[in-house]
Every structure is written in structure tokens, then in C-alpha cells.
């Protein structure tokens, strides 16, 4: 299980702000989210970054999750 936090547009699309999802890594988490909330399809990567347990992760498909993990979807970070 991991706790997923949605905000802004994503939360509006899914109609929720927080959800527990059983997933061992980000890939299965994304799959589960899109399955449960079809409205999110195509919106989970565009211009977004993912933070796992407070750390922003690049291209995070394979990032592993622990049962206590917190996952946030946040805007992508630009480079200066």
C-alpha cells in the first residue's frame, strides 16, 4: 500500500484528494490509478513530477514503494 495525494487538476479529474493504493513501485501505482480513475489517463505524466516520501524522483517508473510511502504528484521542475 502507498498513500497517494492528488491536487489541482488531477484531484478535480479524479474527484478525490487522497487514496491508498496497493503497489510496490510507481509503474504499478500509475497502472492502478488509471484503472480506478479512467479520467486520469494521459494526465499523470504531462508536465508532472512525482515525489516519493518527500523526494522528487526523475522518470520514476521503477522507483520502489514501501507500505508507508507517500506519493505526491507535483508540477515538473524547470532547470535554470
Amino acid at each position: 500500500m502507498a498513500r497517494v495525494y492528488l491536487s489541482g487538476e488531477l484531484s478535480a479529474l479524479a474527484g478525490i484528494q487522497e487514496i491508498e493504493i496497493a503497489a510496490n513501485d510507481i509503474r504499478s501505482l500509475l497502472r492502478a490509478l488509471e484503472n480506478d480513475f479512467p479520467a486520469l489517463k494521459g494526465h499523470l505524466s504531462k508536465g508532472l513530477a512525482i515525489a516519493v516520501d518527500g523526494e522528487i524522483v526523475n522518470a520514476p517508473l521503477l522507483e520502489t514503494l514501501s507500505p508507508a510511502s507517500e506519493v505526491h504528484f507535483i508540477p515538473a521542475i524547470e532547470a535554470g
Partner: protein, 754 residues
């Protein structure tokens, strides 16, 4: 994990490996490259802020002897909006293409319309003059608030505000709306005993790199292309050109020239695809270089902004809520960093209830580009001004107020996640203890403080280490050295290998000679590419131990490595083989010794800084003099402290310029009036005191040496620090940057009832 130990090279200040070339004039920057028989390319740019292109006629220009090719928007293939992920962020290639060469409309003064290649610059100039274009001039809009009004001149008829449900049916200059909510701000403000709120504006500012954009391109008959240019990433240039022109990535080879400053402004393309097209069309190499005027009118500044913000607090200083609306100018195409402004504004503080709404707004100005900590300085200017106003209202020391609310490990950031190990409180304590903070002030003088936060990033990074036959090493990476990174890479390699710094030669390779790496930006190179270097060096050490074991005919596990040599206890005696000894025997032990590391670096530690600024104000003229300045920052671990200090000093001075004098000035027709360094007033040496620095080192546990990125944070606090100092010197606060003499005197007059 990070280790606390005495390092041999990490933390020392050796001379950078590319230093001698750069002090003798031998280093080759972009414009220093040329090819025999090359043509010179120039760009025809719009002199209107907004106009429809009715017709273009190149016939007279093409008839001029020596004119070899002319291109316009129709020579660029139509590209999809987003068809590639580059360094984690897909640029909008359709917009980028239209920015490089306008198609049916010009959207700002300086927007490129056509490009010519000719046998000399003079002929190219004649050709530009001979191009006939018919325009229908359209009304334009420069100001961000005016652009948001329903009857404002519309830049894009097909742009509907994103982030609003249901999707609007009427097109708008507002490209998108972003909302960031934490907690319940209504409850937070209800719990507040004092509130402060204000409206702020900031002007676009240019990165101001001294090197003009320039590039040389060549295309062979079989379509193989080469580009020589400076940028913040040769792989970015390659990918962008390939996507924009419909080429295979393998067809393009980009050789990075030395880069004369970027600060985020060279994270995209302006000339390179045009030079490629001209080279292809003419069959000859083409060199292009912008003038300073072109750099100002046609390359991306940081966004200007309008910000309305409010904070509430209890009388003990606890901030209970913050809210605000941030409107950022994107320039002619969507994509301002307003979201990052919302994310960073209050990130230094543990505030339970924060609600920020961001609007990304297009206006008839050049497309904004990244500039050091994109989006953060203007938002922090508003937030840090409000904190200072709150401190004055509560009669609290401004550092105490910040300490009372400071984020620490476990604090939930306003954008969602909880911070891990961070060093913000340490910067505040260091500021309190710094002699600067308690030094006396004279009449008309004031002291301001402000803080700043930046995420920092990691990303895809590669490094290769080759051990030479004599025991020296080559470290090859794919990231331009924009401020001394060769030295950092060599230091980290020397540290892990255990050999002398000057035995390590760092090389920055072209795109065909090394593995992919994300661009140099976001303060990622010392952290992320450094991790790749460390990993490659550790692999080399493993190979060296294995080779030593072969030579000694013992198991590898019995070999240990330190100080650049393998050692083992053999038959009761300690035997030693130096790196050079092992390298000399490499043929006998399996061939050349080398290793490569290709990683996607994770775990960039966030950075926090706190700045102290003293100013003196001439009450009769409104001129502000910065008397003393101290920049304090958690840098994780400084690999080469002198270059880390340099990042803090340079960033602070760019921020001082942003606060005091830099701005884009437009006339009524939408033409920029200050397109040179004379009237775009960047700080000069005599404007400034020495910039004192304090490097706080709270190690980033995810980096082998504890490194955090350092380049972005230092430009964030100065806007607030300078404004707060001026407010405390005069009792008058300026909410609109820059605090130029006319603006400050007007504010002082108002206060005096004049």
C-alpha cells in the same frame, strides 16, 4: 551514504583544469569557431509587437550576388505539440518551432521571420533589407494584467485556459490556471490575530550572459549534420534540432564550445535549427551570431509578474495561513514558471494552510526562458516582503520570525511532500551569529533579510573514466562547464581514485563521443554528474583491485585500495602496487582499464539560503547604495568551495540587479527601448561591495560526498533582502520592482505628502 572524514581533494581549492586556456584567450567559445568557406547567416526580425504576415517576397533578396539561401517558417516541418520527453520536461515543439520562425503572425518585436545565408555579413544585411513583407498590424498587449482582461488583444485564437473545469469556450491569453492548496486557509485566517496583504509587481529581467548566441552548422550531402555551438547541453541541442527538423538523432553531431554564461537562458535553441536549415539549403557551412540587441529582443527573459498575497499570524509570530494569486508573463507562448512560483514562495516555512493560484499569461513579449530558480525570485519577493511587514507589525526580529516558522525535516511543504534532511534553520542561525547582523547602521541606512528555497534536481547523467598507461586518468562527461564543473568532476574522481588532482584530465565530449546526459541546469551537475563520476571511479577501483589480484596471484577480496594504490598482505608482508604500476601492466592483465557509469540520479537535496543586505538611501534622489551583503546557504558539501562561493556571489548580484535597476522598457508601440547594456542596467563593479558568503554544510545523505545543488538558491533572497533593507532605511516600502531612483523618490514624496 555520506561520510564525515578528512578528504584529500574534496573541499580543497585547486586551479581549474581549463583555467590557463581561459586566462590566456585560448579557450574557444561559440563565436571563436569558424570553417573554411562558410557563409554568414542573419535573421530578419519583426519590428512590430503583433502583426499578421500577409505576404513575403524573397525574389529581390535572392537576386543579390552572394546570397545563397533564404528560409522562412514554411521551411520548418510542422511538428506535434509534444512528442518527446527531454530531460523530464517536454517543451512544446509546435510553439518552439513558431518561435524560431514565425508562420502567419509575429507575436513580439524581434520575432524571427526569415533567415538568410550569404558569402559575407554585408551581403546578408543587404539581403535582409531587400526582403519585402506585407504586414497587417494588430493591437498588442504588454502588461500581464491587461492581457488577462476579456477584451485584450488575443495572441492565440486557439488557446483556451487549461486548468479550469469546464473547459472555457472562449479563447484567452490566460494559458493555464494552477491551484495549490494545503490545509484550510479560511480556518487559518480565522485563527490569525494579525494579517498583512499587498500587491506586488516585478519586471522581466534578462539572464544577461556576456556571450552572444552563436553557432556554426554544416550538413553533408548524405544528410549528416554537425553543429558547433555553446549551450547548456549539447544533447539538448541535438534532440531539439532533430525533433524540430524531423531528423534522426544519429544524423546530428553537436560539439560543445565553451559557454560564456547561460543562467538558464541557454536551455533552448534559437539559432541552431536555422543554421542547419540554411546549411542544408546552401550546401555550405553557415555561421550565425546574434547582436546584443537581438539577444535582448528575441531571447527569453525571466517572466515579469503581478502578485497579490496575504499572510496571517498569531501575535507570537506563528503564521497560520497564506494565500495569493500569482500572474506571470509567459511571453508570446505559454509556459511561464508560475507553478514553481507557487511551490517555492512559502516553502521555507511550516505553514498549515496555504492556498496559491497561478496564472500563466501570454503577452506580446519574447517567450520567457529559464533563469536561475525559474519562477521563484518574484514569488519570494512578495512572500519575504510580507514576512518583513509582519515582523515590523509584531515588533519581532525578522530572523526570529523566520526561525519561529522555519521548515525542518518532516515539515510538509506547501506543494505537498514532506521535507527530508534540510538545513534552513542552520542558515538562519548562521545569519543571527554573523557579525554583519549586529553591526551598527548609520543615518538613512537599513538592514534587510530574506530567505529562499529551491528543489534542486538530479537526472540522467553519464561519466566515463579511462586510466592511461602512465596511471593518469581521463574523466569524460557530456555537460558543458559553465562555472568550474570540470574542477569538481576532477576533484571527485581524484578523491575516489586516490590520485593527485592534476593527474585527472576532465573532458567534455561531443554528442557522438559519450553517452547521453541531461543539460547543465537546475544546479544538477556537481550533484548528479558528480554521482556518475563517483560511480565510474568506484568501478575503476574495482577493476584495479582485480588486476592487482591477478598480478599478485591472490583472491581479489584480499586486495584493498587506498591513497591511489592497491595493497595486500602476502606471506606476512604488505605488498603495494600503485595505480601507475597496475596501469603499466594492463596489457598483461586483460587490456585497457576503464569504466563508465550511466545513471538517473535521484535524491537531489533541497537548498535553502538566507541573505543579509545593508543599504543606504539618498533621501533627496532615491538612489540606493548596497553597503554590505552576506549570503548564507546550506550547500550540503562544497566540493570546490571557491566556486561554490562564486555561485552565491554571482547569484546574489543578479538578484540585486533585479531588485534595483534591471527591467524591460517598452514604448507605446510595443518596441523595447533598452536593448543594450547601456540602458539595461546590470550591476557594474563599482555598484557593489564585497559579497560575503557563509557555506553551511548539512550533508545531503543521498550523495556520496553530501552535495546539494547550489546555483539556483542565491538569486531568490536578494529581491526581498534589498526591498526589506530599503523599507527599513526609509520607513517606505516599494512593492514594485525595480526600486529605481525615480520609483523610490516617488514613494518617499508620497510619504512626505509632497
Amino acid at each position: 551514504m555520506s561520510e564525515v572524514k578528512d578528504y584529500k581533494w574534496v573541499g580543497k581549492r585547486p586551479v581549474r583544469p581549463d583555467g590557463i586556456d581561459k586566462v590566456t584567450g585560448r579557450a574557444n567559445f561559440s563565436a571563436d569557431f569558424s570553417l573554411p568557406g562558410m557563409l554568414h547567416g542573419l535573421i530578419l526580425r519583426s519590428s512590430y509587437a503583433h502583426a499578421r504576415i500577409l505576404s513575403m517576397d524573397f525574389s529581390k533578396a535572392l537576386a543579390i550576388p552572394g546570397v545563397k539561401a533564404i528560409i522562412s517558417g514554411t521551411d520548418m516541418p510542422l511538428v506535434a505539440m509534444e512528442d518527446a520527453v527531454i530531460g523530464g520536461q517536454p517543451p512544446n515543439f509546435r510553439d518552439l518551432s513558431a518561435n524560431l520562425l514565425a508562420r502567419d503572425k509575429v507575436l513580439y518585436e524581434g520575432h524571427a521571420i526569415a533567415a538568410v545565408a550569404a558569402t559575407s555579413l554585408q551581403i546578408a544585411r543587404q539581403a535582409l533589407d531587400a526582403i519585402d513583407i506585407e504586414f497587417e498590424v494588430l493591437p498588442h498587449v504588454i502588461d500581464v494584467q491587461k492581457a488577462m482582461e476579456p477584451d485584450a488583444p488575443l495572441l492565440h485564437e486557439n488557446q483556451f485556459t487549461q486548468g479550469i473545469e469546464p473547459r472555457p469556450k472562449i479563447p484567452s491569453n490566460i494559458a493555464s490556471r494552477y491551484e495549490q492548496v494545503l490545509g484550510d486557509t479560511a480556518a487559518g485566517f480565522a485563527a490569525a490575530e494579525v494579517t498583512v496583504s499587498e500587491e506586488f509587481t516585478t519586471q522581466p529581467v534578462h539572464q544577461g550572459y556576456i556571450e552572444l548566441h552563436s553557432c556554426t552548422a554544416q550538413v553533408s550531402a548524405d544528410g549528416q549534420a554537425q553543429i558547433w555551438c555553446s549551450s547548456q547541453g549539447q544533447f539538448m541541442i541535438r534532440a531539439f534540432c532533430a525533433h524540430l527538423l524531423g531528423m534522426n538523432i544519429s544524423q546530428i553531431r553537436v560539439t560543445p564550445m565553451e559557454i560564456g554564461g547561460g543562467f538558464g537562458g541557454k536551455t533552448t535553441v534559437y539559432l541552431e535549427p536555422l543554421a542547419l536549415l540554411l546549411a542544408k539549403k546552401s550546401g555550405k557551412p553557415v555561421k550565425m551570431q546574434m547582436s546584443r540587441e537581438e539577444v535582448f529582443t528575441s531571447t527569453g527573459p525571466a517572466s515579469g509578474s503581478f502578485i497579490s498575497m496575504k499572510i496571517g499570524a498569531r501575535k507570537d509570530g506563528t503564521i497560520t495561513a497564506a494565500e495569493g494569486i500569482l500572474c506571470y508573463q509567459a511571453g508570446a507562448f505559454a509556459g511561464s514558471p508560475v507553478r514553481l512560483g507557487c511551490m517555492t514562495a512559502f516553502a521555507p516555512y511550516a505553514i498549515q494552510n496555504v492556498k496559491l493560484i497561478g496564472y500563466d499569461v501570454v503577452v506580446n513579449r519574447p517567450k520567457s526562458a529559464a533563469y536561475r530558480a525559474p519562477g521563484a525570485p518574484m514569488a519570494a519577493f512578495a512572500a519575504e516582503s510580507l514576512l518583513d511587514m509582519l515582523a515590523i507589525k509584531l515588533n519581532m526580529d525578522p530572523l526570529e520570525l523566520r526561525l519561529k516558522n522555519a521548515a525542518q525535516m518532516g515539515t510538509q511543504a506547501p506543494y505537498g511532500p514532506k521535507f527530508r534532511e534540510i538545513g534552513y534553520i542552520e542558515t538562519l542561525r548562521a545569519a543571527q551569529q554573523h557579525p554583519h547582523y549586529s553591526a551598527p547602521l548609520g543615518p538613512n541606512q537599513g538592514r534587510g533579510v530574506a530567505s529562499g528555497f529551491w528543489f534542486n534536481i538530479g537526472g540522467q547523467s553519464s561519466a566515463a573514466i579511462n586510466i592511461n598507461e602512465d596511471g593518469t586518468a581521463i574523466v569524460t562527461t557530456g555537460n558543458p562547464d559553465i562555472g568550474g564543473s570540470r574542477a569538481s568532476m576532477a576533484i571527485m574522481a581524484a578523491e575516489v581514485l586516490g590520485i593527485d588532482f592534476d593527474k585527472v584530465q576532465p573532458v567534455i565530449a561531443d554528442t557522438s563521443s559519450t553517452a547521453y546526459s541531461d543539460l547543465t541546469g537546475g544546479s544538477r551537475v556537481t550533484f548528479a554528474v558528480g554521482m556518475a563520476v563517483v560511480e565510474a571511479a568506484r568501478s575503476v577501483v574495482a577493476v584495479l583491485k582485480q588486476r592487482a589480484a591477478l598480478l599478485w596471484e591472490i583472491p581479489e577480496t584480499e586486495v584493498s585500495w587506498s591513497d591511489g594504490q592497491a595493497s595486500a598482505v602476502i606471506k606476512g608482508h604488505t605488498s603495494i602496487l600503485s595505480l601507475a604500476d597496475i596501469a603499466a601492466q594492463s596489457a598483461n592483465t586483460g587490456g585497457p582499464i576503464a569504466a563508465q557509469a550511466n545513471i538517473n540520479a535521484q535524491g537531489a537535496g533541497p537548498g535553502f539560503g538566507t541573505h543579509i543586505c545593508d543599504v543606504e538611501v539618498d533621501p533627496e534622489t532615491g538612489r540606493v547604495t548596497v553597503l554590505r551583503y552576506t549570503a548564507i546557504q546550506d550547500v550540503g558539501k562544497a566540493i570546490h568551495p571557491a566556486y561554490v562561493e562564486g555561485q552565491l556571489q554571482g547569484g546574489a548580484v543578479q538578484g540585486i540587479g533585479w531588485a534595483l535597476n534591471e527591467e524591460y522598457l517598452y514604448d507605446e508601440s510595443g518596441k523595447m527601448m533598452n536593448t543594450g547594456f547601456l540602458d539595461y542596467r546590470m550591476p557594474v563593479a563599482s555598484d557593489l561591495p564585497m559579497i560575503d558568503t557563509v557555506l553551511v554544510e548539512v550533508a545531503n545523505p543521498r550523495h556520496p560526498f553530501g552535495v546539494r545543488g547550489v546555483g539556483e538558491v542565491p538569486i531568490i533572497p536578494p529581491l526581498g533582502a534589498v526591498a526589506n533593507a530599503v523599507a527599513r532605511a526609509t520607513g517606505t516600502r516599494v512593492f514594485n520592482l525595480p526600486i529605481s531612483p525615480p520609483r523610490l523618490l516617488a514613494a518617499l514624496n508620497k510619504k512626505r505628502g509632497r
